[in-house]
């Protein structure tokens, strides 16, 4: 039954509220569920900073992530396919990728601001970095894991290299590409909050909203904001899963 899935979280929330009401959990360190809910209401109606409402913060953040993610996919998928497809390209490009990959996206923030200034471009760049590597690596893995027998079949059908690339490598990699996309957008969304700490020109963004809530000492809004970020991340993942089912009908 569906109810069992929600039983444990419900119990946790109720006991949490109880402990808060009794004063055992300090309100300044961990707001109660009720306070968080009221904080959420304030985010919707009053805004944080006051005057800047939640839905606009969501919108700007989503646009930033969409830009960074789209760039990561547009560059990462073809690059991954080529690297997976050609041993020569793999040998040439892999060392560079392996060297850049371990650098956390957040470490790029000072350089990003230097190159792109404060604003949409530098935040999208940070998110791009977070999403790019999972996309490339999963695409490569997808291309490499294609059963060699398909290449043999194509060769017996007198296929050209272009035929093999577009008719085998690309479709065969698609499931892994989607895995990479989901992981990439997840990381991009998570990196978002920190990316927006660097300064948002427009004054809108969920990360910026949380940082301001911290400045104005509203832990209830901080946590409400975190929950919003979590829920949106979940929804994005869900949407991608649905998209995947529609596009990959053959699995």
């Amino acid at each position: 039954m569906k109810i069992e899935r929600y039983l444990v979280p419900l119990l946790l929330i109720v006991s949490w509220q109880g402990l808060s009401s009794l004063g055992i959990i300090g309100g300044n360190l961990l707001p109660s569920p009720v306070q968080i809910f009221l904080g959420f209401k304030d985010l919707l109606t009053v805004g944080m900073p006051p005057g800047q409402l939640l839905h606009n913060h969501c919108l700007y953040s989503l646009i930033r992530v969409a830009l960074g993610f789209a760039l990561a996919a547009l560059l990462g998928i073809p690059l991954g396919l080529l690297i997976g497809w050609s041993g020569r390209i793999r040998i040439m490009v892999s060392p560079v990728i392996e060297m850049i990959r371990p650098i956390p996206p957040l470490a790029w923030i000072p350089i990003a601001i230097l190159w792109f200034g404060i604003g949409m471009k530098s935040a999208a760049f940070i998110i791009f970095l977070g999403a790019f590597f999972p996309i490339v690596l999963n695409t490569i893995s997808g291309a490499l894991s294609i059963n060699p027998i398909f290449f043999e079949a194509m060769r017996t059908l007198n296929a050209t290299p272009a035929d093999i690339f577009f008719k085998v490598v690309v479709p065969g990699s698609t499931p892994s590409i989607f895995v990479g996309l989901r992981i990439g957008v997840g990381i991009g969304w998570m990196t978002l909050v920190a990316a927006e700490f660097t300064g948002v020109k427009s004054g809108y963004g969920l990360g910026y909203m949380i940082m301001t809530a911290r400045d104005i000492q509203r832990p209830d809004e901080i946590i409400a904001g975190m929950l919003v970020i979590g829920v949106i991340g979940l929804l994005i993942n869900h949407v991608l899963k649905i998209l995947e089912k529609k596009i990959i009908r053959w699995q």
């Binding site: 300044n28 006051p50 005057g51 200034g117 300064g199 400045d215 104005i216 000492q217």
Partner: protein, 335 residues
């Protein structure tokens, strides 16, 4: 084949181990609590990074005023802006601190930290700086431009909002960005922002570097506005009031020292900010060092912060009453 242990042996062993554990446990716990009673923990203080307003703190350290009054002080945190320092108070990591009156008011009003203001640290001492090459002449010229503040609910945020309203500029028409002061001059220089407002010596540095010039000093926005205050965590104030008094004494003497021996004060300022003497002198010219508390000033803070919807305070007078402790200062200075 080793002889298996008999069961009576094992039982005896087990009960011996139990006794040992209990003994150790009691010893450790007693030791820990006794330890607390014997040694008095140093006073954990915090201040803002490169904030020339808080020069009195550095002087009290350098000239030994804290020691003189029996205060064993430990610098537990140097913060990039006021709200961060207030978070540290909330976490119980600080006993006393030099911090902006706006972030302190916000934190207390929102129930996140419990501190009391013990003395003023300075008035005025900030400025709106615009670019050297494309200087805006008046506040109205800021419309459509990008200004950076050290954080929301800092004194500088407060002052900027006041200035915009004073000169009838709709705050929504200005793009406000949050950056930490060390990043501001670079951002102005590279044209990423058109103006910044920060505590001294950053405005002075922008000028001596030839990067910017003053649009408006904070004194021109609100004359004699209280800025930084010396606060004490309420728990600490209750447990060790004599230490708090000692700190205030040291602070008073350090503040007098700045006004009496400005050249030596400059030297200490140079050491703590890492900036050159010319900059520090220019900065200090814009700051008024005083320990005199302003009740009216605080009420203005509460009113305006409520207007900004940062806080919700139903009774301004009661709040201010509780927030500021005038007795200790009066006791020390007779004022």
């Amino acid at each position: 084949m080793p002889r298996p242990y008999s069961s009576s042996f094992l039982i005896k062993r087990r009960s011996q181990m139990k006794k040992l554990f209990i003994f150790l446990f009691i010893t450790v716990v007693t030791g820990m609590s006794l330890g607390n009673v014997h040694a008095k923990a140093p006073i954990r203080i915090g201040y803002l990074q490169n904030d020339i307003h808080q020069l009195a703190c550095w002087i009290a350290i350098e000239k030994g005023f804290y020691k003189k009054y029996g205060a064993d002080v430990e610098v537990a945190g140097i913060f990039r802006a006021g709200p961060e320092e207030m978070s540290a108070f909330a976490a119980g990591a600080l006993d006393m601190g030099y911090v902006g009156e706006a972030p302190a008011t916000t934190a207390v009003a929102n129930g996140v930290a419990q501190v009391t203001v013990m003395a003023q640290v300075n008035t005025e001492g900030s400025a709106i700086i615009v670019g050297k090459d494309n200087p805006e002449r008046e506040v109205k010229d800021l419309i459509g431009k990008r200004i950076t503040i050290p954080g929301h609910s800092t004194v500088q945020d407060f002052l900027l909002q006041k200035a915009l309203r004073k000169f009838k500029v709709d705050p929504k028409k200005v793009s406000i960005i949050v950056l930490k002061p060390p990043e501001m001059i670079g951002a102005l220089k590279t044209g990423q922002v058109d103006a910044f407002i920060a505590w001294e010596p950053y405005p002075a540095k922008a000028q001596t570097m030839g990067v910017g010039q003053v649009l408006l000093t904070s004194g021109e926005i609100w004359k004699d506005h209280p800025c930084c205050v010396l606060v004490a965590d309420n728990r600490f104030l209750a447990e060790r009031p004599e230490d708090v008094t000692a700190m205030v004494r040291a602070h008073v003497e350090a503040t007098d020292f700045i006004n009496a021996f400005p050249d030596e004060a400059v030297k200490i300022g140079v050491r703590y900010t890492g900036m050159d003497e010319k900059t520090v002198r220019l900065a200090m010219d814009n700051v008024k060092y005083t320990y005199v508390l302003s009740i009216e000033g605080e009420k203005e803070y509460v009113d305006f912060l409520s207007h900004l919807k940062y806080i919700k305070v139903p009774d301004v007078n009661a709040f201010t009453e509780k927030f500021i402790n005038q007795e200790t200062l009066q006791e020390i200075t007779g004022k």
